[in-house]
Structure formats: C-alpha cells, structure tokens
C-alpha cells in the first residue's frame, strides 16, 4: 500500500521516539522532519532512531525555504489575533505551510494548529493527524493488533510511554470504534 507524505512537529516526533511501537508510524507515512525540528532533538536514543530512519528512507529531511518561513510567521501572527485560540509557534506553523503547499499530512498534537486550520478558510484543506487517530488507523488496518478484551490497551500503552494524556471524549470515541469495527460489538 502506498504511504502518504507527512510532516511532523517536534513534540509529535519526540513522543513517538519514546513509544514502544514507534516504527509503526512508517506503515502509514513517509515523514518529513523540518530542520528546525531536528535541532530540538538532543538525546542519543532519539537521534539514533531518527538517523536510522533517515537512512532507511522512512524519514526525510525538510529544509524550510525563506518563503515558507515567511508564510509560517504570518500564520503565527494570525493565530494570535484569533480569539480563544492557542498561539501557533514557528515549528507547527512550518508544518501547516507544508501541509497547504505540498499536501503533506501534518502530524501534531498542538491545539493551536488544530484550531487554526479549523478557523482559517485558506488552510481548511490541511489535514492534521494526532497520535490518537494514528493509533486508531494502525489498529483498523491491523498493523497494530487490537486487544478486544481491553480495547483501550493500545492507547494506554502510548500514554504510559509518553506521559501524554488523550482527551477523554476523543479516546472513548476511538475505543468505541475499535469495539464496533474490530471486536464485533454493536
């Protein structure tokens, strides 16, 4: 199956670096890593993982152009003028620009980024995937075996490894999908 191109922000990538099933990400995507994101990584284990995946072609380096950085700065400014919207910082803004210009799926947990593409009509075509949706897709496609005795297990493993808590409502919806689609429950 052909994989989609995606681009990851820093928080997303360092969370996945800690996750026991981190290589499953590449069942779904070839992931671009902006240079600005690469600079944020320091630990030996994360650097080793990234380097090996750059070598295998599962990750690819994304070098931001001046024009892309300029557009990203505009996104940052616009997000700060949107009421009740968390500000978008430069790394996520770069990813949004790549999402709009190149059609890459944006991999981020950033609430500001999610809200921005929801509110900004000229960015409404940008697709954002969070880890929750990716873990769900991995199970639906059977790259990650669900546990029908404990359908929340795969999500909980991610939360334990990364100390990242999913919003309860979204998590319950995902677990309900696992029950319905994979475990034969109505």
């Amino acid at each position: 199956m052909s994989r989609s191109f995606a681009i990851a922000d820093t928080c997303f990538l360092i969370d996945w670096a800690r996750y026991r099933g981190r290589d499953l990400l590449f069942k779904l995507y070839i992931v671009y890593v902006p240079e600005s994101v690469l600079r944020e990584v320091k630990s030996e284990s994360t650097i080793a993982w990234i380097a090996s995946k750059l070598a295998s072609g599962d990750l690819a380096l994304f070098t931001e152009t001046e024009s892309e950085v300029e557009e990203a700065r505009s996104i940052m400014e616009r997000s700060r003028r949107m009421p009740n919207t968390p500000a978008v910082d430069l790394p996520e803004a770069i990813c949004i620009v790549a999402g709009r210009r190149r059609g890459y799926v944006v991999l981020t947990e950033n609430r500001g980024a999610l809200k921005f593409v929801e509110l900004a009509e000229d960015y409404s075509g940008v697709i954002i995937h969070r880890s929750l949706e990716i873990l769900l897709q991995l199970q639906l496609k059977r790259y990650l075996e669900p546990d029908c005795g404990d359908p929340a297990l795969r999500f909980r493993e991610y939360e334990e490894d990364t100390k990242h808590l999913f919003p309860r409502k979204d998590l319950l919806n995902a677990v309900a999908t696992i029950r319905r689609e994979l475990c034969g429950e109505t």
Partner: protein, 68 residues
C-alpha cells in the same frame, strides 16, 4: 483510563510534582510553571534555555502530563 475531559491546565496543575518544581533553579522552575499554565512546550523550552526534547524530559520528571 484517566479522566482527561476536564481543563488541561487543571490536570497539569493537579498532577505536577510541586516539591520538585520548587526545588529547581529559577529559569527551569518558571519555565515549568509557564508550561503548566499554557501547555506551550515550545515557548516553555525557550524560557528554560533547553531544546524541546530536553524540556520534555524535565516535564516528565516533574510529572506534568501533556494533555492534547
């Protein structure tokens, strides 16, 4: 399964190891407090003078959940 539908800021405040946070040097301490209030790891890492990955390790040591 942890209930996380409440305000993320309240969750960060409640889970945080405040004894650990208050024991830190001012720059790291204030960066963690900023993160608890805003959830913005990028800016918090800049306040701390750390990379985002280094700040994330500090966040985990301070038992502050990343809620998103």
């Amino acid at each position: 399964m942890e209930a996380v539908e409440e305000d993320p800021r309240e969750l960060r405040r409640r889970f945080a190891d405040w004894g650990f946070i208050e024991s830190l040097p001012p720059r790291l301490r204030e960066a963690l407090k900023y993160y608890i209030e805003t959830g913005d790891m990028y800016v918090a890492s800049r306040i701390a003078g750390l990379t985002i990955e280094e700040f994330n390790e500090l966040r985990i040591r301070a038992n502050i959940p990343n809620v998103a």
